[in-house]
Every structure is written in C-alpha cells, then in structure tokens.
Amino acid sequence: MENPNLVKDVPAEDLIVPVQAQGRLARALDSDIFYSWRTSPVTVVATLVALSLVLMAVLAPWIAPYNPFNPASLNLMDGFTPPASTGAFTDNYFLMGADNQGRDVLSTIMYGSRVSLFVGVLATLFAMTLGVSLGLIAGYNGGVIDAVIMRVTDIQLSFPAILIALLIFGIARGLIPASQQESMAVWVLILAIGLSNWAQFARTVRGATMVERQKDYVSAARIMGVHPILILLRHVLPNVLGPVLVIGTISLALAIIEEATLSFLGVGVPPTQPSLGTLIRIGQQFLFSGEWWILFFPAMTLIALALSVNLLGDWLRDALNPKLR
Amino acid sequence: MTEPLLSVRNLTVEFPTRRGILTAVQDISFDIMPGEVLGVVGESGAGKSMTGAAIMRLIDRPGRIANGEVILQGRRIDNLPDAEMRKIRGRKIGMIFQDPLTSLNPLYRISEQLIETIRTHLPLSETEARKKAVQLLDDVGIPDASRRIDDYPHQFSGGMRQRVVIALALCAGPDLVIADEPTTALDVSVQAQIIDVMKRLCAENGAAIMLVTHDMGVIAETADRVAVMYAGRIAEIGPVRDVIKDAQHPYSSGLMGAIPRLGANLERLTQIPGSMPRLSAIPRGCAFNPRCPHVMDKCRIDQPQAVQTAPGRRVACWLYPPQDGTTAAAERQSAE
C-alpha cells in the first residue's frame, strides 16, 4: 500500500513551515509563569518596588532634585537640616533632610542606589558567567575535570563570601598602583564580589547538566556528530537556565548587600562615589546625636531593594519548580 | 440475585484549573459482584486510574468528586469522613499499584510493614500477626518466607516486590482489591507469574478485583467482565469474551484491531486515526466522533447514553440508539 502522506506535486508554498505563528509577547502573556505572577499580590508589589527603585537609580541624573556631588549647589551651612524642611541658608527643600555636608539625602540615595545596583548587577553577571561555564564543563565532561572544579567549589563555599571578597580586594589593592586605585575601585569591587559568588551557580548548573546530558535529545545531537561545545550552548544551556535565573536573582540581592557591607567597612567604593553602604556608614555616626534621617532613609532603601529582589527570586523558584505547580 | 459488592453510580471527577474545569471522569456507572474480576481498560488519559483513585478517595487536590455515588456493600462511602475512609482502605479495599517501590517504605523491613498493617485492621498480637505475615508471603510465592520477611524492600527483585505488595494488599482480608497496572513495570516472563498469584489468592479469599490496565492481553487472561474507557467515559462494558471477540463500540473494535498478534502476520495494523483528546478539548457529542469510521451527524451534537444491547452488555454509541436494539444492529451491519 502507498503511504498516503508521501508528498508529490504539491506547490512549495503549501509545504513551507511558516515563520512564526504566535508572537513572543502573546505567548508570554498566556504562559503559566505570567499567570502565577499575576495571581501573587506579594510578587506584583515586589516587582513594582524593585522596578521603581531601579528606575530611580538609573534616571538619577535627570530626576534627582539636586546633584549632591556638585559643590556649587551645596552649602555646608545647610548641614543637618531635618526632613521635609527648607535649608537655613539656601532655598533648597530637603524631603528626607540633609546630611552633615548639606547634601540632600534623597538625592544621595538616588545616586547611591545607582552605584549599588551597578556593582551588584555586574558582579552577579560576572559570577553567573563564570559559574555557569564551569558548571557546564564539569557536568558534561565528568571525570577528573569535574572532580577538580567541584573541589574548588567546595573550598570556595566553605569560606564566608565576605571574607573572600575582602581577601581579593586586599590583594587587588596591593597590585594596583596608588594613582589608579580610586578609578579602579569599582571594578575591583565587582571582581571581588563576583569571585565570591560563582560557586552556587557552578554547583547548580553542574547538577542540572548531568541530568540533561543523559537525555535523548543530547544523544540525538551526539549521533549526528554535533560538536560538544555546540551541544552545551544550544541544547544544554537553555534547559539549565531556569535554576540559574532563580539563583541569579537571589544572588543579586546578596551582591547588593555584600557591596554595602564592604563599603560600610570602608573598603568599597571611594567616598567621592558613595553607594548605599557608604551612606549608611556616614549616617551611623550621627544616629546617637539625633540626626536619624541620615542613616534611616539609605538603610530603608537598601532593605527595600534587597527584600523586593529576594521576593522575586523566591517567587521565580516556586514558579519554575514543576513539583509545586 | 446477589447484591453487588461495589456500585458506582454516575461518578464524575473534576479538576478545576485556571482555564476552566476539566472533567477527568464523566458520569460513569458500573457494578462489581463479590468475587468477580472487572477489567478497566483504556489508553492514557482515559480516566481509568482516576476511577480507581476516586473509589478509594485518593484524588489529589484540587481534583474532586463532583457528582455520583460509590456504594460498598450497601453503604455509601464517597461522602464518609476521612477517618472512616482510612478504616475502609486496607480492611475492605486493598490496593496494588504499578510501581511496587512506591507502595513499600524503603526504610522499614517487610515484616514491620506487614505486621503494622495487619494489626491496624485485625485484633491480633504481635506474634500472631507475624505468623500471619509469614503465611501470606508464603502464599504469594516468596521462597524461604520466614527468613526473608526481615529483609528491606530493596533486597527483593521487581517481581518479588510486587508479590510483597500483593501480600500487603491482602493482609486484612479485603473484599475488593483495586489493582492499578500491577504488571506494567514487570518483564513479560514475570507478568504471568504475578497475574497468576493475584488471581489465585483473590479467588481463595473471595475478594473481587478491579483490574485497571492498558494491556488487553492481561484483561483477556484475567477478567470476567471488562469496561472500555475513552476520554473519561465508559464506551462499552460487558463479558470479556464478548467484548474481545465482538466489540460493539467502534473504539473498542479499533483498539482490538490495533494490537499486533503473534498468530496473524498482517502487512498493516488497523489504525484509529488521531489520538485521544486532551481533557481540555473533549469534542462535543460523542468524544470519539472525530476518530470514528461510522460517525453520523448526531454523534457530533449529542452525547450517546449507555444502552443495554445484550444481557450484561452496555454500549454508549449512536449505532445503538436507546429505543430499539434490533434496528441498531441492522444499522451497524449496513455501516460496515
């Protein structure tokens, strides 16, 4: 009997696979993930908070009431102006008060979040790239390579991250000439935080890779002789990205806090480019003399940022976990 | 006429989801007589396992029994409190699942699990229960039972484990055993042994079996009657020999033709086009109508009701309209 599906004399137009049927946006809006986001009020609020903080930071040069780093707009005599009042010597209005140098706290927070987010995001991306690559290599190859990478990971995970960051920071300081230390400080900070956070990524990705490489779609590609690097990038990587996204979000929150801690300890960003951590360090000097706002507002911003990002990470973990669906 | 052991009346199981309510089992009714073996056969998604789970009240939330009654020995059990239902499970109804590893706790010795189950349901002392447990293991064909009873589940092979599960299901002397794909995970040469043990022991204890499986071969060997399920509904129910030799519903006859056989070396197998609809897209009218070779206009609009076509035989198909059985047979003849 003839195969009824055998193709003969059909115009090409009827046989070609159309380019795209459903747009990406339509698909995303219809997805289970979006549904679980929409139905979780906590997550929606967390998203809005995180989003507005990020916007505030990114747009700081345009929306901040004052430029706190422009000496021309500052008056030292405005120092310690309480919140929601006008300065004593200028007409500047300070919604969140002014610090000891007469800088508007709201503006310093906006500029400070900018530095915090910049360092946090880049450090996390760096840690993610490093950890995911090492995890993929270890999980796919196994054997000695795997053993070496995983032992390094174990050692890394047995130190507190902040200790590793301090160590790397110290070494980098020693290697960089004094004249460039100021300008390199942010990059050294990103390197230090990144290197202290990659191990989580490596460990998770290695586990997921070991599961995926056993699957038959990988076998099918291997039978065709697809190069192992292409198999890793095209087949395995997209399928291990779920957990990476979860850890990425949570470790972004951790990186922001870690940066704040380092800056609080005085080893982070230079005072000319204060981050939220620097602001908190400055503020805590005045806490017991009654000028609470210099500490309070930056600290609340840091908490709001870390908490909202963490909540997003938590939701993402549940939404991507098939067992909890 | 004897009273049925189990009566299922208009049972409907629903799963509310964000895209609407999915009906996994729709309006099914059947009886199981004492000591009888009823086979429930169907392909994945037919609702056969769900039916068994609904009788045991083991449906995971958010699934729920939306309608219907389950009557065990004259007593309605679908609305009993959970504590009462737990007493019925094990004591009145035993369970055998596909994967023996999921029914046995890997952390406890076989003896502990058997003795605990026996003592939960029967007023026996520890030593009496142990004696009974050894006896049961011996009955299901585990060699050297008095020694092996203290082994852990992982020390048994797949077939031996399933024997232990059978012993566990039978230890309180239930009147009904619900076996969900009991041989699917086993090798062919072991399947026959397990079916044999299950059938023999249930017959000796007078227990009826509800055998849920996708394997027509197992049904043919084991069951007295068979219910063929499709898309959550019973397509056809009747004595196993009649259904296999002369299936009336187009789905069951298609299913029989699709099974490759040793005897006949055919060039092509009979194939039913298409596949079982998803629960979210069950067609209007008869659920089988898009795949049916005898489809009529009526099938696309109205859902057929089960009609008695012969003693003990019911079919839900418009080829057998409710009013008159004889014209239906004639119609079917002309359709072929």
């Binding site: 009997m1 195969n3 599906n5 193709v7 090409a12 009827d14 046989l15 070609i16 696979v17 159309p18 380019v19 049927a21 699957k215 038959d216 779609y217 076998s219 099918a220 291997r222 039978i223 065709m224 002789g225 697809v226 087949h235 997209p238 399928n239 | 392909e43 994945s44 092979s157 797949g158 090798d187 062919v188 040469s189 072991v190 026959a192 042994q193 044999d196 996708h214 027509m216 071969g217 043919a220 060997e221 196993v240 020999r241 296999i244 030799k245 298609g254 299913l255 699709a258 099974i259 490759p260 056989r261 040793l262 070396n265 055919l266 197998l269 009979t270 194939q271 039913i272 596949s275 079982m276």
Partner: protein, 328 residues
Amino acid sequence: MTKTLLDVRGLSRRFDVSQPWLNRKIEGTGKLYVNAVDDVSFTVKQGETFALVGESGSGKSTIARLIVGLLAPSKGDIVFDGTSLKDGLKGAKARALRRRFQMIFQDPLASLNPRWRVVDIVAEPLRVFERGMSNRDQRLRVGELLTLVGLAPEDGVKFPHQFSGGQRQRIAIARALAANPDFIVCDEPTSALDVSVQAQILNLMKDLQKDFGLTYVFISHNLQVVRHMANDIGVLYLGRLAEVAEAGALFDAPKHPYTRMLLDAVPDIEMTGRRRKQVEGEIPSPIDPPSGCAFHPRCPFANDRCKRDVPKVINGVACHAVEEGRIG
C-alpha cells in the same frame, strides 16, 4: 541475494560499576564490572528489519548505543557498509557515514529539546549535514518532512509539549529522516505509546521503510510488535544472544528454551483458552550472572555442562541441549 549493510562481530561492552576509589580502599573490595553485552554477532541486510528482543538486563539498549557510536565497544567490531567503526569516527569520512545512520528513541518527549521549536528540531540534521542550506529551503524541507509523517507544516512553529505522545514520536521520525539516512536504529520506539497510537507509528515506519528503502535495527521487549515488524530476530538474554533466526522460523519453531518460554508468556489475546505457561524464576542480576549458560537456573533442560560451559551460537542457537539433540 540482498547486501549486508551492518555486520556486528563479537561485540562486547563492559561497564565499571565499582564503588568510588576511597570506598574500595576502606572496605577492601576490588573493582566490579558488568558485562552488559558479551560476544554478540549478527548481520543486518539492506532494506530489512533486524529485531533484538529481550527483557530487562538483556543489553539490547546497550547494543543500540554501541551501533550508533554513543558508546565505544570494549571488544569486537561493528562494520557498516564495509567500513569498520571500531576506531571511532573522525573527519570528512565520518560525516559522510554519520549522515547515513540515525536513531529513534523510546521516550519521544526526552528525545526532543523542550526549548526548541519543532522546525528547529527537525532541521538540526540539515544544519549539521547540509551546511549552507538557506533558511527558506530548510523550512521547506521541514514542512515536507512533517507532512510525510502525518503532521502539518504549520505544526513547525509549535513546541514539543504542545503535542501528544504519538505526534512527538512522529516529530522524532521526521528529524531522523531529515538528512536522508538509509539506516535507523529504533530503541523501543513504541513502548511509551498507547496501543492505538503504536499501530499508527508501526504502520508509518513500515511505509517509510518501503518508500525510502530504509534498514531498521528494531529493539523491543514486545514480541507481538517484533513479529509484526521484523525480517530477522535476535533473542538476547543477559547480554548474550540466545537465538538468531528468520522471523517466521523463530515464531513457528523456536529452538532455544528461553525463546520458547518467552513465546509461552505472551498473553492470549485471542482467547483460545491457551494458558500462559508458568515460568519459573526471574532474570538474575547482570552484576552476578550464573555460570555457564546464564539461563540454566530457569531452564528445564539444564545439565552439568550447562552450569559449566558457555554455549556457542551454532546454527543460530546457543544451547547445549539443542546442540546435543536433547531437545528438538
């Protein structure tokens, strides 16, 4: 006389299942190996179907993976169309050979990348073997292939999870056919499918074999399915061949006691009243197989020689009792 396409000679594969090094040193245990496949030889003729049947632990899936090169043999050789695959495949010659063979897997969901659209999945062999093929030509070819296996070109834009099990297996078949292979290893292609869908897939595979002159190595535990598909059959037990024969001969007059037992264990769907024969015992663990003929503890004809010596395949049967004429 049809040409031999695949020649498997004395194929063996050993797996290291030892404890980790530290555990071995502490517990004082040695290395532990499993002979998953042991000295298996058979030939596959062009345009025909050779089936390997066996229960769990028989090594049938290992043989499939050895043939397509996912595993390397410990001993023996695989000769494909005159070329030995023993020393691995490298370079241009490898590409030319690789495009000629393909594999279809048991679980169609696991064999399709869940993050890829069907069009990309089916076009993967084209990207590997037809470098430089334009995107439009690829989509045209994929549409053609999807139509060929009973799907529609529009299905190409969907993802694997949007299909039923049978449709997914059709997609896997379309991918296997994309680069015009002539040899396909099918590892339990229908055992994850329902009966009515299994019939569709088996019919499709037979049609394709006829239309494109395909050669199949068909691996299954289901004797009825094998009966329907195969020209020649090899019966495996614990990594060794028990019997190799032409399909009709094997089913009409099985020789090896294990083959007989398997046939007796097939459920009686015809309801002829034939009872399944009670089979004694279960398959032993491949880690610690019985001495001599691995089947001897379950064999009604076993004698001392069976416990001692491993039987050789003589006239397609590896059995001392058949060799000595004790059973006919």
